[in-house]
Symmetry: C2
Subunit: 518 residues, 2 copies
């Protein structure tokens, strides 16, 4: 790994760190939806890519200079698996929540269940927990977990959720953040995306646009020009007032709907992207990104103003890679996460490698870059560790690792740790080769990809081939076997859901059963 | 006045009262919507009326035995004026919020603005603050006020709003409880009524039932059999968890949608009312009442269980009289608040006299009944007084009086205080003689009623004629003149909105200008 210290980095002395330790740090988890690894001016990689030059994201830039950024941070290919991994500390193959949770219980949400897919695919979808997580047992199609928000709340943290939830189906407990350990919920529910970003459209709460998904609790902005990203930010700042004034440590889950579809222009920011020559879709998307950047800046400014910035940890993250299969984003489909391959839904890097930054004043080194791979489920023990909560009990045994040693000392996490990604689904109503029915695993510089439909295994060296174009499965047999074995072990350990081959009626093989073919 | 002590009443010694005083009391303001004075088994009057015998409300009964009940408590004829009076400490004639606030800014909500009324009435409606209250200045059609919830929050109270808001229009700040000083908001917004009480109907959040008014933030109950009253209660109890565990004093604004229209059966309770011979509408309404009673009981049980009951004040109140102009309630229209005349919308007793109970453990006398008239705007200084907050500044000068001396010692409020009710509106799309365009004032045992359309003044002695059937305007000229003068003074002092006579284009006379006619 690299742990680069910028020139201005200052490590606190043990004495002052201890003094600060008396006061538990506030924590802001700033989660963006569908933001790709290269979707900002922050260069998470070794190079500044053309995409990095497109976006005006001065606040993300500032945060990257204040804290550490991760070149190899991962989440799941789609939203709910990531969000439930975050909240459970479990890998998505382990929660068996591998696609987006349904809004309506009893109706699975994955396209694999659509009549076309059922009739025509070579695979039959596996069963999975389409109702998401649950804080209690006995809820159909859920996995019971102890949410970290509950542990924070029980430890006296004032826990606030603002924005997108998407942890569970309507009619189940985890549809409500209040059941996950949040003291306050603004707008969090079962919706996976906003119906409209516009106050003028009541964020979708109109007869014409009706959907269960309309963002709730924002009537004060109805009919105004307040963009959803701005509205959620304003609401978040309001909720911080009480804990700050009363010196109660807070945890804010600032969970933006931006930059998910619908990719519509944020009028505050779109024009200069058009002026710079982007097409309308690209400019619209960029304007959503810049809106989220402003939100981050507004929150950082608020912390400064209230005098709590020095005791507030900020974690900035996206829930999956950028969408590469949506024409409304403009550009050319399947290239929008360049240099990464593919995008949302896919177990190639474009779908799972995400922006991640952590800033812990006085603890993290300013401007440092961490190359050791980390994954969404690591956030659970990390957040509790930051909060100083050591002994806690959970119904689940955590898969994630505490990243505090890594972000404060640069060590403590095995660079060769195996990170599993599993998407046993068809994502869209139509089939997509590089997105549907894939699993992959990263181990050090290496990555294996398993195509469920064809039984193919691919091997990439990400250090040399970030774009996953050079399949080394045939030339690096030993490494392939090592990763196929490791991946199979994990899939079995997690009791991962596996599709069935329509032709035989049998479950698809584990990768180690395929290895002799190569 | 009477201040009756029941046999079991015990007044705390000064010593123990002081010891308890060290810990600020929690306060629960339990507000029912559209519940009439006689709509429970609690006898607020001197007699047990037939209506009191209809309802099974053991928890209200229990509360009345634990605390004090008011025989002569008043609110406004409709919801928003009462709710904004409560939140501002101002009389509704003073806020100029005299009818229900609009959902959509710029579109006044009162029926007086409907084309029929505009064309055919002898009166032209006055201008008024149909956008409700606002915590900031410069919002069209609002009055700026300092909400008591803000003062409580600033003093360190953990302020929670659950349920109906209805303080302001969409697109204005007070649409959101977060702008009124609440730390937590569950479901409060611009809606004046629920779209559906049924979880099976997503509380109205379906394409078929769509309305801006659907109760928000309850997706966890979608598709379940959880009645709205139950859902809001469960949510409220969840939000109490944090302040109780962390020993933070809390204020809970438990603001039920029940028992407003739609008058649909609560399946948990409806059958025994049918068995007892009520018609379907009456049974449906009674089942809503009993649902609210269960909510009260569940909250009291929760307080006991958590060990905070002894330090929690409960105020139980309705926002206006029972609806007497809605066929879905069954029975005979305009008789449903017997022995009181008329109902919701009216300045006769049926519209404005409401159930009110206060229980402050160790402070109020068990089972006592207070006959001194009190009014909604008194709650503002009373709640702050209970919280021990003495010095606070408000942009408005309060009209309400602190009732703490009254509920703890039986004195401190002038029994001859003048209480004004003002409804310069047509309530329904059709004209209603005993409801539309009325003002009234209570002073001691006496009450004056002013009919705006006809210029008639009526005088009643409520002590002898609770049902306002014996108009003494002609026989008690001196008293009439006294009350007409007092009422006119108040209307002028408050700069109350007054309708215009279509025939002359002039504002209707103040009552003292009419007195020579009598």
């Amino acid at each position: 790994m690299k742990y680069l210290l910028s020139g201005g980095a200052v490590l606190l002395s043990a004495a002052s760190a201890t003094a600060q330790g008396a006061q538990r740090p506030n924590i802001i988890f700033f989660l963006v939806d569908d933001m790709g690894w290269a979707d900002s001016s922050v260069a998470y990689g070794d190079e500044v890519y053309p995409m990095n030059k497109r976006y005006h994201t001065p606040n993300m830039q500032k945060l990257s200079q204040m804290g550490v950024r991760f070149s190899s941070a991962y989440a799941c290919p789609v939203s709910s698996p990531s969000r439930t991994s975050l909240m459970s500390g479990l890998n998505a193959a382990h929660t068996r929540i591998t696609d987006f949770t349904t809004a309506i219980p009893g109706i699975p949400s994955d396209a694999s269940h659509q009549p076309d897919a059922l009739a025509n695919d070579v695979l039959i979808h596996p069963d999975w927990n389409w109702n998401g997580i649950s804080p209690v047992s006995g809820v159909d199609k859920t996995i019971q977990v102890t949410p970290y928000a509950q542990i924070l709340k029980d430890a006296g943290y004032y826990t606030i959720h603002v924005g997108k939830g998407h942890w569970a189906a309507a009619g189940t407990p985890a549809a409500s953040p209040y059941n996950l350990g949040f003291c306050v919920n603004v707008a969090g529910q079962v919706a996976g995306k906003p119906v409209s970003y516009y106050g003028e459209e009541n964020y979708g709460n109109t007869k014409e646009k009706w959907s269960t998904f309309s963002t709730m609790n924002l009537t004060e902005y109805y009919g105004t020009k307040t963009h959803l990203t701005e509205a959620l930010t304003l609401e978040a700042l309001k909720t911080l007032d009480f804990p700050i004034k009363n010196n109660i440590p807070f945890f804010l889950n600032m969970s933006h709907h931006g930059v998910h579809t619908p990719i519509t222009p944020d009028p505050r920011f779109v024009q200069h992207y058009l002026d710079e020559g982007l097409d309308q879709g690209q400019a619209n998307f960029a304007s959503l990104i810049e809106g989220v950047d402003k939100s981050l800046g507004d929150i950082m400014h608020y912390l400064d103003e209230k005098g709590v910035a020095e005791n507030t940890v900020i974690i900035f993250m996206s829930d999956n890679g950028g969408n590469s299969e949506n024409k409304s984003k403009g550009g050319v489909l399947h290239t929008q996460n360049a240099p990464l391959r593919e995008g949302k839904g896919s177990c190639y890097e474009g779908g799972i490698r995400i922006p991640l930054m952590m800033y812990w004043p006085g603890k993290t080194s300013a401007g440092a870059k961490v190359d050791i791979p980390v994954i969404a489920e690591d956030m659970y023990p990390t957040i509790l560790s930051i909060a100083g909560i050591k002994d806690y009990s959970t119904v689940q045994e955590l898969d994630g690792k505490d990243l505090v040693p890594l972000i404060t000392t640069g060590s403590g996490i095995d660079a060769e740790r195996e990170l599993l990604f599993h998407f046993p689904h068809q994502w869209k109503p139509y089939q997509l080769n590089d997105i549907d029915y894939l699993s992959s695993m990263r181990k050090g510089d290496w990555k294996i990809v398993y195509r469920h439909r064809t039984g193919e295994l691919e091997l990439y060296n990400l250090k040399k081939d970030l774009s996953e174009r050079n399949n080394l499965a045939k030339s690096e047999r030993k490494k392939l076997k090592e990763l196929a074995t490791a991946m199979s072990d994990k899939l079995r350990e997690y009791k991962a859901t596996m599709p069935t081959l329509r032709s035989t009626g049998e479950q698809i093989p584990y990768p180690d059963q395929l290895i002799k073919k190569f």
